[in-house]
Amino acid sequence: MDSVAHTHLEDAMAVSVYVPTPFRRLTGNRSRVQGRGKDVAELLENLESQFPGFRDLLFDDQNRIPAHINVYVNNREINTLKGMATPLQNGDEVAVIPAVAGGTQDGPAPALTPEQMERYSRHIVLPHWGTDGQRKLAQARVVVVGTGGLGSPVLMYLAGAGVGTLGIVEFDVAEISNLPRQILHHMHDLGRPKALSARESLADNNPEVGVILHQNRLTSDNAMDILSGYDIVVAAVDNFPTRYLMNDACVFLKKPLVEGSILGYEGQCTVFLPGKGCYRCLYPTPPPPGLIPTPAQGGVLSMVPAIIGPIQAFEAVKLILGMGQSLNGRLLLFDALSMELRTVRIRRDPDCVVCGDHPTVTELIDYEEFCGLPGAAHTAAGSADPQP
């Protein structure tokens, strides 16, 4: 077989080959190598001649590529093309991706299907991600409260990234003033429950993500029940009562909370981890009603949640995959007009009434009253447009 590869080497196509971690001891630890061949079979012979042992790692004892290893040509799995006879062109990108890189086949998370390998290939090849990371995402459960300007991109990117189970808390219906920034909802959704249009839009992108709808306002009566079913909570709400409600519930449940907020041309984002501070450490009390304009009063640039939402989504992904530096302990500030992004330090307050050393708030309270809105009926999670 070697002779065949060598015979054609002069006129064979030169391609770039992605080498998975378990194979890199053969390639001097390189993740990308050049190979030649007019088709995949020839390329694999060529790789064996360059890196003796490659073939033994790739093929089983029946001389076939086992089911847990996929070979991709330009991100198409070769069994969806012409298998080993798939022709190659100069500049093609070939990737060899074992479904269980670094692990065993009978780990807790199921191996990825060929379609999943293809769908998530741009992420899987990233450092710190890989198939292990992709399988962790598939096992993860994230709940997003609100499907508005922030919630829409948060959910789109979490679904796109393959988070296995997404909870959506939303009780409102779509209105036309939502459409410039709430990308889960469309003209044909006007007047429909946003929970339904959100689920449909997510399914259009990634039907394998499990979506659980909670078509209620988040309240002190249901928050513990709803949020307890998830690993990570994302706040994408438009009002202070729900923000404080989610904060306190996450402290009590010891759940990570990914916070985002927007107004005008500006946005903020941070992450609160159990035992490391909370929203009340940052802002112990809300502003009196009316002091800080709502988006309905002060306006909001639609592109701001389109920046902050994906940042929230990635912060959730970082927690799931255990990668990078979390925004925990930092408040990220974004100003679209000056196009500045910076962070300031935030920390746990030992005197915090919820998460401090001697907490005095130990169960959920009436957050409308706490925020100076006694009896107010119009503030809750995910309302379409805040009342003036």
Binding site: G146, G148, G149, L150, G151, N178, R181, Q182, A235, A236, V237, D238, N239, F240, R243, G260, S261, I262, L263, G264, E266, G267, Q268, L282, Y283, P284, T285, P286, P287, L291, I292, P293, T294, P295, G298, V300, P305, L331, L333, D335, L337, S338, R342, T343, V344, R345, I346, R347, G382, S383, A384, D385, P386
Partner: protein, 91 residues
């Protein structure tokens, strides 16, 4: 000390810009001078007790002044002071 003071929201409307140059040896002194120039400024930041509102944070460069010397925090030329109220919006 000349310090850049970055403001947002209501304060931005009051001063008519996203940032303003302030003067003072301490944060408290600087805020008092800004209040003289922009009447009502300090009411957005401190309460009747003279303490910072709990829904407003002031950062000296990247540090919350509550963890420095609060309103007595000393200022240096070239410092950046950011006044940040909580934001409600998410939609």
């Amino acid at each position: 000390m000349a310090v850049e003071v970055r403001v947002t929201s209501t304060l931005e409307r009051l001063v008519g810009a996203k940032s303003v140059i302030g003067e003072g040896a301490t944060v408290g002194e600087l805020l008092a001078k800004l209040d003289a120039a922009y009447p009502g400024f300090i009411d957005q930041i401190t309460g009747e007790d003279g303490q910072l509102h709990r829904f407003v944070n002031i950062y000296l460069n990247d540090e919350d002044i509550r963890y420095l010397d609060a309103l007595d925090t000393a200022l240096q030329d070239g410092d950046v002071l950011s006044i940040l109220p909580a934001l409600a919006g998410g939609l």
